[in-house]
Amino acid sequence: MLSIDDRLNEIIRQLIGNGITLEQAVEAFEGKYIVAAMSATDGDITKASKALGVHRNTLHNKLRSQTMLNGFAESIQPSRRRLSSNSVRSAHRKSSLANDKALDDLLAMFVDPYRKVG
């Protein structure tokens, strides 16, 4: 049976082979680690932050990042979605709003020249 080190080394070799940078690997690992802790505590941030050894505000901020939320949404079981379903909805809403804002800006560019017509 492979040790944790061997399994990690194998994963790292695959990541490097796929062109994943150190920053991307750290981010992904951190995300999965947090997701696992959140999953184990049924989405309880206070318990998860204690298990991870970070302040709950730090964990809360990290959970706000969309990458993290997507990872969480993918990993967690449907029955354990107590926190993540709201967070994911929020992330989708943010993404939708960003699209709406960009769309408004685009359409404003279309309207602008016609203010001078007439």
């Binding site: 769309l103 408004d104 685009l106 404003a108 560019m109 309207v111 020249p113 007439g118």
Partner: protein, 235 residues
Amino acid sequence: LAGSQEEEYVRDFLKTYFEEGFTNSTLSYEKYKQGMAALADLDLAAFSAKLFSQATSETALPGGDVIRLVHLRELDGGEFPFLLALPGRRSMARKQRLNCFVGHRFLKEIEGPLRFNLAHVLNPHRIDLRWSAQDLSASDIFAEIVEGIRGADMCFFDNYRVDDKPNVYIEVGIAYALNVPTILTEYQGSSVGSATAPVPSDLQGLFRIRYSTYEELFRKLYFGLPNFVGRIKRN
């Protein structure tokens, strides 16, 4: 149109707008680049579906501007969708009304769709249309036409099917002589009919639009309108 076609239509319309705007100097290079980049990135599916599905076919933007979808008429009797950019009430209130004298070949199949399309596209921008020889009971139609053109802020003439009755060129000549800013649209031929004879060379130098379909004509007209009206105001 199906959902994906609606989105494709909106994307193509706006793409043509940015390209034409950049080409005719309505839009700076930065705006053009910004617009094209946004078009490449944005998901337009929901917006397009909303626009095509609404009974009013209008979408209000923050600040009160409105995007309106209208269906214009094509040379072959069909229809095509068209987007109008309508500034909010405050901008509209500041607009001055412009009179546009319109001349074209008087055939039922031209009169109907051309006037319908012009009214949809120009009226919302406070450009009032006056049709050539609108008052057919006038005792002196020629004098009416001259006065109509003289009193207009701008003219629009179309040469579709004028080969055997080129009266419209007389009107173009009058507008030219009276120095009234003029848009001359020239039919280049399509599946509907063969090209109209070339515009007389003496009348060149006007704002000319060559087209094969009304969709092409009205996009070029609409996208060139801010620049054209800007020139009128400067003069």
